[in-house]
Symmetry: C2
DNA sequence: GTGAAAGCGCTAACAA
DNA sequence: TTGTTAGCGCTTTCAC
């Protein structure tokens, strides 16, 4: 009975105490410990104090995974993006984390590298990991790819891209109108030969941005010239190569719309190498506003996407879905915003 | 016995099948199912086939969390960085993920925002989440902050920064020599008034980079001028403000060393606003090489850190530590590399 | 108000 | 080779 009894009673080899240890130390049952941990409803003040002390003394920390197993409820959410290094996605991730943290949910982050096979592996892993739900920037536009995942009955929300016919919650940006705004801006400045650096055909955002570009041209009565369209790969080299090609045209464009942020970096390199001046020799607009855009010389005109909000909205949709699995699916479309800077317009000095 | 018996036997309300369901369907015990799932040792071909078929038919997927609970072994690792949006950290994260994925380990990523309190919350969460280990870019240089975490007996490796007297594995970059190389480079170009934008005093990398800067000056016999030292906050505005201040000096520097990538973005803005030319009016070197560095005009001279390797090394250290908790701690110091571009040197056109 | 006991999905002795 | 059983750490009826 001596409180000083030199009893080192730690369950198992690992030295982390369990409910059992706490119960023993406090002289109560594990049920009581559990009650105290979860708020102390229906427990006498007396025992609460006793248990709390034992908890402190043992430095007890309840295992969430054991709890989750018991209550059949996960507190993890999975995220799969195509490029974790792209500021577009990290900002989204930030929004997701901030929203989930409030609910005590942690994020398992994975990277598909735009590769359907990798994506599939990660999806499997996350399912096996018993996540509460998954937020996904799909690498494939083919909804069949995700058919069996959906059959799994797990909450899923797609962001940025939306595979056709996929019946899930989604958070998207109005790519068409964003691209149209960018193109119209160039047209309003008097440009008529406007190039575009597009992304891979199979990615919906590429298609939609091209669509916006084309519709702006059409509305302005400017004929569409296929030679001004260069397909990049959403990577830096892609932007570089396409821009080089555009500049080498017999009749090069006077302005270019780059439909993704990292391709813009490549495009800039090509422009600098050719010693062209922005915007006088060539004007440039980019889809995606990035932290470095304002630090360029001249600063970059860009279509800003509400990245952080995409993240918070997606997280919220997922939480709702988990709570209410049978609710009708929702599609949230956020607006982009054209931010005009020096890469298209020479600033007035009055 | 009819295979067509319309028995919908799914355990629990959630419709995901368990070992039990598979066992029942295959007409074997759960133990056999478990054996088949884990490789099929000591199971007859006959039953293996039977079980596998049941698994496919039910679309069974073993719960890793249940498994982990049973075998007392986690397959998650936690990562806490101070800014998940900083390319420096995303690249590290990439290295970590690529290394862990091979071992079937998934990453729980969290963001401390350079805030000790947030960091503490995340540490607690990760511990409760029963992670196998934690990779941490510490927000505090005070090792006391982490004392009780270490007492937890969990594997932990720190990256980028190293709190004094903290006995854990670490992966660091040689900040002093990196900063010295940058400064020496400027000196070799004939600069004598060299400014520096430092980070917060309490972050070790700030101190060390300042140290490298000072030692280079000293070696060159250039007196240290405190008015040329401006303390930023490792954020963009910080770099902007410090650069503005430096440029407004009676006798402004002819070159500046910015000791962190995002502050460099702010510095660039300030330089452009003042319509100064790089490198003729002011030369600029940055610690951290970033994807956009080569796309600037002129491209940015920078001290490149082996970010991806930091990640892989940290992951490897952690895996080793988990396997062998009592091994002596190791400190890995990686070299940085000065990449000379146009922001310090006008390229030759021969 | 409190405890005993069952069980979440899984694995690992131990028996057979 | 296969099944029975106990138990990982936790919560939650159900008795008392």
């Amino acid at each position: 009975m001596g409180a000083m009894a030199a009893k080192k009673r730690i369950s198992k080899n690992r030295n982390t105490p369990t409910v059992k240890d706490v119960a023993e130390k406090a002289g109560v049952s594990t049920a009581t410990v559990s009650r105290v941990v979860s708020g102390g409803e229906n427990v006498s003040q007396h025992l609460i104090a006793q248990v709390k002390q034992a908890i402190v003394e043992l430095n007890y920390r309840p295992s969430r995974v054991a709890r989750n197993l018991r209550v059949r409820k996960a507190n993890t959410v999975g995220l799969i993006v195509s490029d974790i290094q792209n500021p577009f996605f990290t900002s989204i991730m930030r929004g997701i984390q901030d929203t989930l943290q409030v609910e005590g949910i942690v994020l398992l982050a994975a990277n598909s590298d735009e590769d359907v096979e990798q994506e599939r592996i990660h999806l499997e892993t996350l399912l096996a990991e018993d996540v509460a739900g998954i937020i996904l920037a799909p690498a494939s536009s083919d909804s069949c790819t995700y058919a069996d995942i959906l059959a799994e009955g797990i909450g899923i929300v797609v962001i940025d891209r939306n595979p056709k016919n996929l019946k899930v919650d989604s958070v998207l940006v109005d790519n068409v109108s964003g691209a149209r705004a960018a193109t119209e801006h160039l047209i309003s400045l008097g440009h008529e030969r406007i190039g575009i650096i597009t992304g891979p055909k199979h990615i919906s955002t590429s298609q939609l941005r091209l669509e916006g570009y084309q519709s702006a041209l059409q509305d302005a009565g400017i004929p569409f010239d296929p030679s001004l369209v260069g397909m990049g790969n959403f990577r830096q080299e892609g932007g570089y190569q396409v821009m080089q090609a555009l500049c080498s045209l017999m009749n090069p464009p006077t302005a270019v719309f780059s439909s993704n942020n990292v391709m813009t970096l490549g495009a800039l390199q090509a422009i600098h190498e050719k010693c062209l001046r922005i915007p006088s020799d060539i004007a440039l607009v980019s889809f995606d506003d990035m932290p470095w855009a304002a630090s360029l010389h001249p600063p970059l005109t860009a279509v800003a996407q509400p990245t952080y909000e995409i993240g918070t909205a997606a997280a919220r949709l997922l939480l709702d879905r988990v709570k209410e699995p049978d609710r009708p699916t929702r599609k949230i479309i956020l607006e982009s915003q054209l931010i005009i800077r020096g890469s298209t317009v020479v600033p007035d000095y009055d």
